[in-house]
Homo-oligomer: 122 residues x 2
DNA sequence: GCACTCCGTTTACGAATGTAATCGTTGATT
DNA sequence: AATCAACGATTACATTCGTAAACGGAGTGC
């Protein structure tokens, strides 16, 4: 699986790709306080893990995701649900609800979602 | 923060405590294929992290959680939401909904939850 | 053609993790 | 008292992660 620092690089590529190492650094540099070498290392690890691909562009490479964000998000979330919430979504929502950590926006969106589910299988 | 293997030990203690190292091993041994030394190491790391406490009981110790499960669950879940879902619950639920990974039970419980929220702040 | 500069590749290195084995101490046995 | 067994404490060791620095090859500029 792909690590947290690696995921930061992936997020950049998911937002827009292909990108050069330099561009990636430009986008995460300030936020992460990373040096150039750090991004390069992470890219290489991602290549080794087949999470990104690289295509030559003159003297440099442009990187693109191979791993879909959807898939990553799903794996990561499912693993958490399995470990902490018996593998189901509702208990997680219940937890945040009990902690009063559901925003108005969350609640509105959840309502919306459930309504849409109604419409689907009548 | 507490690691995944450490969390396995914590789960045992959260279910029931205090417990001896031996009892903990008995409960997770088959599932995890762990040796005695492994559990002891994990307990020591948890002690160092102040996640559990130990009280002497004759020649051995009995361990109990200091870190509340609620707190651990919250930290862990919040971190995931922050990294993958803009820090909010609804997008996570939406993701599982889109992937058709909401069970009937999930949906029923979510409905229930939202109804209860209605009742609370009228 | 030779030095310099840009990149990617390789190597580094400490902290955390997973998984134990070994050491040391202390109570129990003979 | 001498020995043994049961525990916890200390040490070990390979792997992964975060974070880079060093190395090397290929264009680029004189």
């Amino acid at each position: 699986m792909i690590s947290e620092a690696e995921a930061v690089v992936m997020e950049v590529l998911w937002r827009s790709s292909p990108r050069s190492a330099e561009e990636i650094l430009a986008e995460v540099g300030q936020a992460q306080q990373w040096q150039e070498g750090t991004v390069k290392s992470l890219l290489n690890r991602l290549l080794k893990k087949k999470a990104v691909k690289a295509e030559r562009d003159g003297r440099r490479y442009l990187y693109s995701p191979l791993l879909a964000r959807e898939k990553y998000v799903h794996q990561t979330s499912k693993s958490l649900l399995d470990r902490l919430f018996e593998g189901r979504v509702a208990p997680l929502v219940a937890h945040f609800s009990e902690q009063r950590k559901l925003s108005k926006k969350d609640i509105a969106e959840l309502r919306q979602l459930l309504e849409e589910l109604d419409d689907e299988q009548p």
